[in-house]
Symmetry: C2
Subunit: 173 residues, 2 copies
């Protein structure tokens, strides 16, 4: 569908209000049960860098901010890094409520069974076949392998809480 | 917390695997009940541009991809735009299951009551006070106004399905 056709759909404001200039879709927040497992998954398996952590000891939770950024682009200075990570798109915020990792029965809801809502996050990679082979070698669980079903150009892996992570590549396979 | 201290936390892989170079956190997917209301909210209120739509008529759903991008950076050519929107961070994918908008009882789950999981998305704006005044003038519902509670530098508004949208600015107020 052309941009002109997309802009003619019901509900669409084709010319953004000037007041929204420089708005940035900064982050998505997911709650995680075991922060150590999640940090391992997002940094080792997917290549994110932890760029900030905020502790709320009295309220019993901590926030972790991760970005898929070139290490050289991340400011060393804490104040500069804090402002930088609030200004870029593609940040992942993980909320850890302290102690959930010690409760064997505790689990978060991935949104893909009732009651549904949130569906998934998606990582774009240069080579989806190579990326999926690496995930297999790292024993990452798959929700959908490339070969499953009819959509053979995309896969879904699962993070430690079972949240779905779609894997795509920008170009045709 | 310094980058060195962040990188020493349990679970962290401080040096990303070279295999993850050029991985991009491309998008977050949310299911929406009434796509016309959602397109209105995300384009008129928040300034997103609809950059792609995919219909799956047999399966009864459509996917809408929105980006907060300078209009001049969006490729006009459909193939080029398709590859571009799979290569950038900060895309929002909305899934519309056809007909849900006609069911008065139907509602998606925002993730912030049991069973919890997904929490919110966040838009970074140049001036959070001015942005919130505009949202008030547009009669956007708030989950938390700037003046509510102790965190007076951030607000939460709600999209048409009740998903929480945090509003922040990168710099100190």
């Amino acid at each position: 569908m052309s941009l002109n056709d997309l802009h003619a759909l019901p509900g669409i404001t084709a010319q953004p209000d000037a007041a929204t200039a420089n708005f940035v879709f900064n982050h998505t927040m997911l709650r995680v049960k075991d922060i150590e497992k999640s940090l391992d998954f997002y940094t080792r398996v997917l290549g994110f860098t932890l760029v900030d952590k905020r502790d709320f000891a009295e309220a019993g939770f901590s926030l972790y901010f991760l970005a898929l950024a070139d290490r050289n682009s991340i400011p060393e200075d804490d104040t500069a890094r804090h402002q930088w990570m609030k200004s870029i798109p593609g940040v992942l915020e993980l909320t850890h409520n302290h102690g959930t990792e010690n409760d064997g029965q505790f689990a978060y809801h991935d949104g893909n069974s009732d009651p549904r809502g949130f569906g998934h996050i998606c990582i774009s990679v240069p080579d989806v076949v190579a990326a999926c082979e690496r995930f297999e070698s790292l024993q990452v669980p798959f929700q959908k392998r490339l070969a499953d079903g009819r959509m053979n150009h995309l896969a879904f892996i699962k993070d430690p809480d079972g949240y779905w992570v779609e894997i795509i590549q920008p170009t045709e396979l």
